[in-house]
Symmetry: C2
DNA sequence: CGCGACGTTGATTTGCCTCAACGATTGTGG
DNA sequence: CCACAATCGTTGAGGCAAATCAACGTCGCG
């Protein structure tokens, strides 16, 4: 049941059977239906989620109702409002399931305890965050330095095969452009090739 | 000499005197002059830097010679090409001193050793990266959701008092706009107030 | 002093947005 | 199994934000 998560941990650190058991005792599995939310604005985020199955998006909605997708998460990714989890401030994000799926939930308090009980976990998350930081930095650079089309190309390499799983207007939102303009971009790209 | 770094560590973790000594034995102080580089494209980054004094920028330069600033670092910040440091790929970034200053340099190999010798260091960097990730995520959100002016306002809260230390065209570059347009933005802002 | 670095301002162009209309597809209840 | 609505993608006309290019003013510094 938790094999996939343990496998992810073992990519970076060694876990004794006892530690693995301890970990498992402090986490829980949660099934979610398409369009359900894991996080909604106004709460204080207390849980970190590991995607076991399915596809999720984190997005922000401004006062005019416009949505901006900040992140997608597929199998093996962590997703939460890290800002709220870290600072205790109110969440401003939604985290929504784009398909029926399941996540492994770890409550902040259990997490803190686990960090003491299994110090190696600090290393695991150090590496996870480091990787996420590299991604975020590259995305920032792309956004300020490249045209929307180049930015799109980079997106495809970071999220391979995601185009089959999420509607096009969400990809546009992630890229920071409108669905209409995104559609025109793709039309032009086809012309260029031929 | 290394007091400032130790102080930063102690904000998040406890260090015994022995551990502090061990740490100090594996790091070095490096003085840099204005316009000197800590990192230049084409190398493989092997060192992480902690800013003890001064002001630095990381930037990318494209084939047309355009520069894009991805990060500023003031006293107490870490700066490096984390991508190259992490993956071993060639750096594409410059890291340059904007003032005479000094950094504390930690070589990757020493760092890895220290992570084993002082496991708590994992926790420190987990938290440092987590914070940096929160910042980067907010920056992404701002860039795709807000106008250049709002984005500028947020910048000021993240880097207070930096306007006195770096030229305006670099702030424009960080924000992803041209110096000319940035100048016009500020002119309009003054009008609004009066 | 004279040069280079930096900031400003204006004219023009371009990338992307907004609004609106229109197919295509999917899902759902009668 | 069909009618209908809802969701999603496409296309076009017009508008705005920001880029580009060029000229000019100002300051600090060798």
């Amino acid at each position: 049941m938790y094999e996939f998560l343990l496998q992810s941990l073992r990519k970076y650190i060694l876990l004794s059977p006892e530690e693995a058991d301890l970990l498992v005792s402090r986490i829980s599995l949660r099934k979610v239906k398409k369009k359900q939310w894991l996080v909604t604005p106004g709460e204080i985020s207390k849980t970190d989620y590991f995607v076991n199955k399915g596809c999720f998006r984190a997005y922000y909605q401004d006062d005019n109702g416009h949505q901006y997708i900040t992140k997608f998460a597929l199998e093996g990714w962590w997703i939460s409002d890290i800002l709220s989890l870290y600072t205790g401030e109110l969440t401003k994000l939604y985290v929504e399931a784009l398909e029926d799926g399941e996540v492994i939930a770890i409550h902040k308090d259990n997490m803190d305890q686990l960090f003491d009980e299994i110090p190696q976990l600090n290393k695991y998350f150090r590496l996870v965050y480091q990787k996420a930081l590299v991604n975020a930095s590259e995305r920032v650079l792309c956004t300020i330095s490249q045209s929307a089309y180049d930015h799109y190309m980079r997106f495809l390499t970071q999220y391979p095969n995601i185009e089959q799983r999420v509607p096009q207007y969400m990809i546009a939102s992630y890229l920071g452009i409108t669905p209409e303009f995104f559609s025109k971009l793709k039309a032009q790209a086809v012309k260029k090739i031929s």
